[in-house]
Amino acid sequence: MLHKTVKHKFKQVAGSLTLVASLFTASVTTVSAEDIGWPEKEELKFGFIKLTDMAPLAIAYEKGYFEDEGLYVTLEAQANWKVLLDRVIDGQLDGAHMLAGQPLGATIGFGTQSHIITAFSMDLNGNGITVSNDVWAEMEKHIPVENGKPVHPIKADYLKPVVDSYKQAGKPFKMGMVFPVSTHNYELRYWLAAGGIHPGYYAPHKGDTSGQIDAQALLSVTPPPQMPATMEAGTIFGYCVGEPWNQQAVFKGIGVPVITDYEIWKNNPEKVFGVSKTWAEENPNTHIRVVKAMIRAAMWLDANNNANRPEAVKILAKSSYVGADADVIANSMTGTFEYEKGDKREVPDFNTFFRHNATYPFYSDAIWYLTQMRRWGQIAEPKSDDWYMQTAKSVYRPDIYTIAAKALIEEGLADPKDFPDFDTETGFKPPQTEFIDNVTFDGSKPNEYLEKFSIGLKGDTVL
């Protein structure tokens, strides 16, 4: 008996030793192109939505980074986020520019159920909230002014009296966001709730996916490129969307951007590159190579303090990519953001593609989105901290990212100091404090985090 346990112990130790050894060799041996292996699939089709943060895809294509990996990629604009996701699920697209919440939402089954994974985060920040001229005129009365300009960041506290007056007049206060699991939805909700405006709950278990239960501001879905036109038509009074559609409102003179997501949550993860899990399993080498090409594109976009951005703007302005006027795209891509017409301010990190480890898929980012899904009822039942962790790990795949990054370092195309230290990186950012309502987020304690909000589901609450 004793003998047996000793033997068993020995086996365990030996096993873990070989594991350690193999880990060690893996991190020491060179990972070159040959080691990754040729791509299983060479002709790929990726989908995107006409937004400036699709830039890593456009750059990887135009600069030949995909071709360097032996990949022949076709980029195709999609009509809206739902079509894009459905086409990734049914295999018409090999991968796509996705909202950070999409792989998570799809995997846990909010909306269309399908296991989607991501090994590459496409950018940080890049969204804004715009309100119509009428709403702005009302809001402006309450906003403190310094040197003749409104003081930023503008909190939703100043929007509250406007929403209240609409309510008294019996008119619903409607706003647009781009998709139920979009970063925009969560950011807009976060901003509204921080200002005491209830954005409404979802109740999928009762079949209510409108997200308007108890709502003071009614949010609904509008595809990004149609936001300005929808607001102009008076269907919505404001929206949260990516660029260039906030700047477009300024140029068209139909609305005023009031806040960027950078001010709601500094350096928040925005888009990811999503593929279906089955695709990733069938094409592991292809996947790594795609990530390699996109890391290079992201590096190019942020290189030399945004020196390449003007060129990127020209590429994005082509009608097959974003297609908006170059000066509209340039407004936000070159480190500035124009609020009211003429009130152009420096926001150097408004569109961040590589700095601050923007491309690394952090588990803590995934968990933040999951907490917001729970907060607004998209996850109807209470979940344990461990569930959050497991879900994040099944969707976010830093392991694939690490192989790609190491290969680039090995080929001399990237510098190790631009990446997190892969040997010690846990995938969790240290607790983040820079939110508009000063609530601290610690990715390892999602349930504790939810307790900190006065508006939102938490604990055992089920609608």
Partner: protein
């Protein structure tokens, strides 16, 4: 006396008509269309200057003319890129074969975005396939309905119900059916092409069917009697008598069908995001750049011109196959 006044005024009218008629006949026939177009351009120019959209001023003829050339330039730039792409690909293939001898190199199609002219070609091809499918179904069924009263009574309710259905109502159904039924690993045609072509077929079936049926049922009874006297077999009856006699009506139907098909296709491409001119228009609308409206206008004019050319094409085919070469066709 009382009757003379209307007579006089009547004469005056005739004189007036003659004067006008003289002017009309002195103006060369070719000049009037030019006058019409110039007048339209002038009105367009004035009206455009007075419409301010959120995408800037509505494009006048000058901006549209300019965008036409931009689109041509973009097309040739894209062709150059394609050439470079193929050259690069050959180099890369060679490099890979050197490293990995088991690799079988292959040349892949250019991955760049389709240009305006590529989209025109896609649309034309799609509408032709859709129209062809519709015609080979509609003409025989139409002949059957024309020959047999009972067949006509059986078909009539279906024709009447489906004829007015908009393509946009068919589209979701066609899309779902095509994705479910048309499954293959290496498809010869893309799904989007099948969907568009099939939607076109469903909508341009009806004019051909109805006109063929009417044409066949109204054949001169003398011709039918000739056939009876000669004791023609049913097949030769159709071949020798029915078809030649109803060609004008069949072609009226076909021309209507092709026109409808072309209109339907643009709408279908727009809604389903299938490649083609409709997608071009939609993409430009989504882009919302200051040039978008002018580019859409180029597409609108192109769509019109192609529709017109298609109709002329059908007309010349009709002239070619019609037995009565003296019939007035317009």
């Amino acid at each position: 006396m009382s009757k003379s006044i209307p007579v006089v005024s009547h004469i005056g009218q005739i004189r007036g008509k003659n004067v006008l008629g003289n002017i009309m006949s002195t103006v060369p026939k070719l000049l009037m269309p030019v006058v019409g177009i110039l007048l339209f351009l002038a009105i367009w120019n004035v009206v455009a200057k007075n419409i301010d959209t959120s995408l800037g001023q509505f494009p006048g003829p000058a901006q549209v003319w300019e965008q036409t050339f931009t689109l041509i330039d973009e097309h040739s730039a894209q062709r150059e890129k394609a050439d470079a792409f193929y050259a690069r690909q050959e180099e890369r293939n060679a490099a890979r074969v050197a490293k990995d001898p088991t690799y079988v190199p292959k040349i892949r199609d250019f991955t760049g975005a389709p240009t305006f002219f590529d989209q025109i070609w896609t649309s034309l091809y799609t509408v032709m396939v859709g129209f062809f499918i519709a015609s080979i179904v509609a003409v025989p069924v139409g002949i059957l309905c024309g020959l047999s009263k009972s067949a006509y009574s059986a078909m009539n309710p279906l024709i009447q119900i489906f004829k007015p259905v908009s393509p946009l109502a068919w589209l979701p159904l066609v899309t779902m059916v095509v994705s479910a039924v048309y499954v293959s690993d290496d498809p010869m045609f893309s799904k989007s092409f099948i969907t568009s072509a099939f939607t076109v077929s469903l909508c341009c079936l009806w004019p051909t069917l109805i006109n063929t049926a009417v044409g066949v049922s109204n054949i001169d009874s003398d011709l039918v009697n000739v056939s009876k006297v000669l004791r023609l077999k049913p097949l030769s009856h159709v071949q020798k008598i029915v078809l030649p006699a109803s060609i004008p009506m069949i072609f009226t139907g076909l021309r209507l069908s092709l026109g409808i098909g072309w209109m339907v296709l643009i709408a279908a491409e727009m809604l389903a995001q299938n490649p083609g001119l409709g997608k071009f228009v939609w993409d430009e609308f989504q882009n919302g750049s200051s040039e978008s409206l002018a580019r859409i206008m180029v597409a609108v004019i192109t769509i019109g011109l192609i529709g017109f050319l298609l109709d002329r094409l059908m007309l010349s085919v009709q002239r070619l196959v019609s037995w009565d070469k003296n019939a007035v066709l317009r």
